[in-house]
């Protein structure tokens, strides 16, 4: 790892320094920077603020600074690091909260107190913690990039594989024995033919470069989220990409947090990009106490949190999504299924716009830089299901869920539109639904998923045979309801035939009992696929019987009066113990509709 060896700051000599000549907000210019590279990381001013080169012209460099620049003065030095902006990868990522440039916030808190002072720094990974290392290879083995040479127990939920870094292949001269080591200890010596390489448990990787993979595969398996409208109607696949745009107050953050809590991925990377500090505090307090239904351990034992709140420096916000996706790729390379939530990608785009404005670049649409769409594409393209480099033919995936915050809730704005060109799933949040407190406020008429078909096949194979039929019927009912409402608005409800009235009743049951889901209820917060299927069956059982009843002359208003109708709304909130009784009683009561007599 040539990059790593140059990391040592003591190597840098005075004559490699530049001098600041201009400061304007988070952007500075320096001269005497000849020889520096694009996107090289630098230290700015006497406080050593972290920055990154974004324009080079002759010996002048324009640098975006990841910290507040008040007080920085022309004439102060700029020190080169010879490294691109990189993250440290190794055991200790899980359970840690970082800022946008991977500074560990809990450590910074211990060092500098409640406020983040400028120039604060701490190593991203704990150098003192000892991990139990289990070798998976032996001396003399040929290993190549991506191979698992050993494993440590990173947390109760995560086995962290120590991988041969990308670009390295050779014969193992030695490998550490099973035992406790800190991450900087040499755990293996590799003979690459040209040199002997000491491998530790740490790797560095430049955040703007995707980590290599062998081959990209099509996502086929649905990513279960326990959210009924998502899993049933607009599923996401493992390795897929989704966008949730919505105006403020439509519940983006709650949906993102619900997904983080319940999604069936091995590792969760949650990026709070330009969002609220109190929300991050909530995540920090709440997630460690949440029992993960799959492992039985706390959710934070398999989660990496990146918090660059809206008041933290804007350039670090720009970097935060790259930091997050690089960490996600690292776990993917171990063969895990990773889910990454970015809340919100609009703040990221705005950070790009802000920097671009400071550079006086020619603006594209609404002041966003012309490269907005390519940056968004680059980011989402790092998601996917892949077969991994390294032997063993392992597979891993990254699913990306990006929240979008369109100004005024207007989906025609550039960030939403450019995102939609890339992602395969679109969950459109709707202010009107939110006003009625219909949550999740995902609009069923506007949203779509291109994974519907593959997910449907999975459901039929694994859960139940008539899933696709019920789902399609459900969508048709909802579509038809929308048309009927148009008619009602024009001519009033009294002209509707009984069959249409029944349809309205059906749609109401679907909306209020199935699509609506209460995130803060102990049981409703998560509905597994089996229960979703059971709920669908119960609902459709009633639909069938109700159709028969209408055919025999029973009025829809009579059906509405049945106590049965009320019990649909209690399906989601019922506990596993109550569930069976409730479903049975719904089905039994549906049967009795058949025996109702008109007018009785």
């Amino acid at each position: 790892m040539e990059k790593k060896e140059k990391n040592d700051e003591t190597e840098m000599s005075e004559e490699k320094n530049g001098v600041i000549i201009r400061v304007t907000g988070p952007v500075i210019e320096a001269e005497g920077m000849a020889g520096s590279r694009m996107y090289e990381s630098v230290r700015v001013g006497i406080d050593g603020l972290i920055g990154e080169i974004i324009i080079l012209e002759g010996d002048r460099a324009t640098i975006q600074v990841y910290e507040e620049t008040v007080g920085v003065t022309p004439g102060e030095p700029v020190v080169r690091t010879f490294l691109p902006l990189s993250v440290e990868l190794g055991p200790g990522l899980v359970g840690t909260m970082y800022d946008g440039i991977q500074r560990p916030l809990q450590e910074i808190l211990k060092k500098t107190g409640d406020m983040i002072e400028r120039g604060s720094s701490a190593p991203a990974l704990d150098r003192t913690k000892r991990y139990m290392f289990y070798p998976l290879t032996k001396a003399g083995d040929m290993v190549r990039e991506g191979d698992r040479i050993g494993c440590v127990r990173e947390s109760v939920s995560v086995n962290h594989y120590i991988l041969v870094p990308p670009g390295v292949t050779g014969t193992l001269q030695s490998i550490a024995k099973k035992g406790e080591y800190v991450i900087t200890d040499t755990i293996a010596v590799l003979d690459t033919g040209n040199e002997k390489k000491n491998l530790t448990m740490i790797q560095r990787w430049p955040v703007r470069d995707p980590r290599p993979v062998l081959e990209r595969l099509d996502p086929i398996e649905p990513l279960m989220t326990g959210q009924r409208i998502i899993d049933t109607l607009f599923p996401l696949a493992r390795g897929g990409t989704a966008a949730i745009p919505g105006p403020f107050g439509s519940g983006k953050t709650v949906v993102q947090q619900q997904l983080a809590k319940w999604v069936n991925a091995d590792i969760i990377v949650y990026i709070g990009c330009g969002e609220r500090g109190n929300e991050m505090a909530d995540v920090l307090e709440q997630f460690p106490t949440l029992k993960d239904p799959r492992t039985g351990h706390s959710l934070s034992s398999r989660m990496v949190l990146i918090a660059n709140t809206s008041n933290m420096p804007v350039a670090a916000r720009e970097a935060s999504v790259y930091t997050g996706i690089t960490i996600a790729e690292y776990y993917r390379d171990m063969g895990y299924h990773v889910a990454l939530m970015a809340d919100s990608t609009s703040r990221w785009a705005e950070a790009m716009r802000e920097i671009s404005g400071r550079l006086e670049e020619m603006p594209g649409e609404e002041g966003y830089p012309a490269y907005l769409s390519s940056r968004l594409a680059d980011f989402y393209e790092r998601a996917g299901r892949v077969s991994l480099i390294g032997s063993g033919g392992h597979e891993g995936s990254i699913s990306v869920i990006g929240a979008v915050s369109p100004p005024g809730g207007d989906f025609s704005e550039p960030v939403t539109q450019n995102t939609l060109r890339i992602v395969k799933v679109f969950w459109a949040l709707d202010a009107d639904l939110a006003y009625q407190r219909h949550f999740p406020a995902i609009n069923w008429l506007m949203s779509y998923s291109l994974y519907s078909k593959t997910a449907g096949i999975w459901w039929e194979e694994h859960i139940g045979p008539d899933f696709i039929r019920m789902k399609q019927e459900m969508m048709e009912i909802l579509q038809r309801e929308n048309e009927l409402e148009e008619i009602i608005r024009l001519v009033g409800p009294e002209t509707l035939p009984e069959s249409d009235r029944l349809l309205l009743l059906k749609a109401e049951i679907i909306r209020e009992s199935y699509l609506m889901q209460y995130a803060f209820d102990e049981y409703d917060t998560f509905t597994g696929p089996e229960k979703q299927y059971r709920m669908l069956k119960a609902i459709f059982k009633f639909f069938e019987q109700a159709e028969h009843a209408i055919d025999t002359g029973i009025q829809v208003s009579e059906l509405r009066g049945l106590p049965l109708i009320e019990s649909f709304a209690r399906m989601g909130t019922s506990s596993p113990e109550e569930e069976e009784t409730l479903f049975n009683s719904i089905e039994r009561n549906s049967e009795t509709i058949r025996n109702m007599r008109a007018g009785l």
Binding site: T24, D114, P247, N278, A351
Partner: protein, 464 residues
């Protein structure tokens, strides 16, 4: 280096709008403060917006009127804008640059702080959970305010947002606790009358001696508005986190603040974003609003109530829009309700309190609170929808149930939302009132409430 920073220069090379440019300077830091002495002897304060090896661009807070290019003297202080702080500031009134205007002497500082502060480490924050009883049903019942929250009032020209804000400031309490509280009030470009109203309200309720006022009125320089809220928030942080007080910060009017930012951006010929506002307005507003909150292990808290007027009542205008994306919810006032004579004219449907969930329920307000709120929302939304239907085609097509919803909707506005400006309802009062209204509907309609609470509180006919 420090010597250089205290250098004084005579003459400026360019003055445009609120900005002036100096050439031939050296070692000027970004963001540092400049003291500008006008030919007539008046001293104004400015701040460096951009600096190069030989040139500095300075924004002048009290305007560039009467500046000349030859005789104007500029002294750079070598440090960013700071404020002297002391607990003796309680009960005092300052102008928009923190100079006393109440006839009292200068503040004897206990400490001096940078007005831009530093961001709170997210891992130092404590998630706010203590609900504040404002005594206003539409807020307490539907959008509970929590200590450490930032909850703006989205208003329009001519709506009674000031009356509402002063009622909140007067009545706000955390039940069962008598703790040190303070009010910090920052006026940005509001009229003399509006500011006099607040001062009178504070005086009458006895809150004035617990209040610190920063007033930049409509006829004060617009550029000064960019520092007024920061002075106020730095004071609030001092009172909250050094002195352990629960501080309520009222910032009014955020729209004026944003216009001042736009003015500076235009003078700098920056690339404009939406409606001419600069692209960094989200970040800038966040640097104000994110200064609300609680810090683990410290006693005090900062709760913010920013007020903004939506131009043309348009909630998608950049100022309310960006504010809504930063703050933890919003209280939206409605012209319709105001026209109907309903005070406070809170349009509950677009309102939201994101921190409500953690602040209500057993041991905080009442166990049924969350479910009652959801049911009220759903029933009111349905009532409103039916009313718009009636407006088109009359009442004939409505079922009995529909009519009940419409009746609910009207009673909700008249009994629940409407209250007197001195009426202080407890959480219990508010929730009981809610049950009175919900009892107008048949029990089977209360789908969002569990049977346990229905049997405890429902008083409708069906139960009998």
């Amino acid at each position: 280096m420090t010597d250089l920073k205290f250098r004084t220069y005579t003459g400026v090379s360019k003055v445009v709008g609120p900005l002036m440019v100096l050439d031939g300077v050296e070692g000027i830091g970004y963001g540092e403060i400049a003291e500008i002495t006008l030919p007539g002897g008046e001293v104004r304060i400015g701040q460096v917006l951009e600096t190069t090896t030989t040139r500095a661009m300075v924004q002048v807070f009290r305007g560039t009127r009467d500046l000349d290019t030859e005789l104007t003297q500029v002294r750079f202080r070598g440090e960013p804008m700071k404020i002297s702080l002391s607990s003796d500031m309680l009960g005092r009134t300052f102008d928009g640059s923190a100079r006393p205007i109440d006839g009292g002497g200068p503040v004897i500082p206990e400490c001096i702080r940078d007005i831009y502060g530093a961001p709170v480490n997210p891992s130092a924050r404590e998630h706010p959970r203590d609900s504040i009883q404002t005594g206003i049903s539409s807020i307490d019942g539907m959008n509970t305010l929590v200590r450490g929250q930032k909850l703006p009032i989205f208003s329009g020209a001519g709506l009674p947002h000031n009356l509402l804000a002063s009622q909140i400031a007067r009545q706000a309490k955390v039940t069962g606790q008598a703790e040190k509280f303070a009010v910090v009030f920052a006026a940005m470009g509001i009229t003399y009358e509006e500011s006099a109203f607040f001062i009178r309200e504070f005086e009458e309720s006895g809150a004035l001696e617990r209040a610190v006022l920063f007033l930049n009125l409509a006829d004060d320089p617009a550029i000064e508005r960019t520092i007024t809220p920061r002075l106020a928030l730095t004071t609030a942080e001092f009172l909250a986190f050094d002195k352990g007080m629960h501080v309520l910060v009222v910032l009014t009017d955020i729209t004026n603040y944003c216009e001042a930012l736009r003015e500076i951006a235009a003078a700098r010929e920056e690339v404009p974003g939406r409606r001419g506002y600069p692209g960094y307005i989200y970040t800038d507003l966040a640097s104000l609003f994110e200064r609300a909150g609680r810090i683990r292990g410290r006693e005090g808290s900062i709760t913010q109530i920013p007020i903004l007027t939506m131009p043309d009542d348009d909630i998608t205008h950049p100022v309310p829009d960006l504010t809504g994306y930063i703050t933890e919810g919003q209280i939206v006032l409605s012209r319709d309700l105001h026209m109907k004579g309903i005070y406070p004219p809170v349009d509950v449907l677009p309102c939201l309190s994101r921190l409500m969930q953690g602040g209500i329920g057993t041991g905080r307000t009442r166990a049924d609170h969350a479910e009652v709120k959801n049911q009220l929302y759903s029933a009111y939304a349905k009532g409103i929808r039916l009313k718009s239907l009636v407006a088109v085609m009359g009442e004939e097509g409505l079922t009995t149930l529909d009519k009940l919803y419409i009746r609910f909707c009207e009673r909700f506005e008249n009994d629940f939302i409407r209250q007197a400006s001195y009426e202080d309802r407890s959480f219990d009062d508010t929730l009981n009132l809610a049950w009175n209204l919900l009892s107008l509907l048949p029990m089977s309609e209360l789908k969002r409430i569990s049977t346990e609470f229905i049997s405890k509180y429902y008083r409708g006919e069906e139960k009998a």
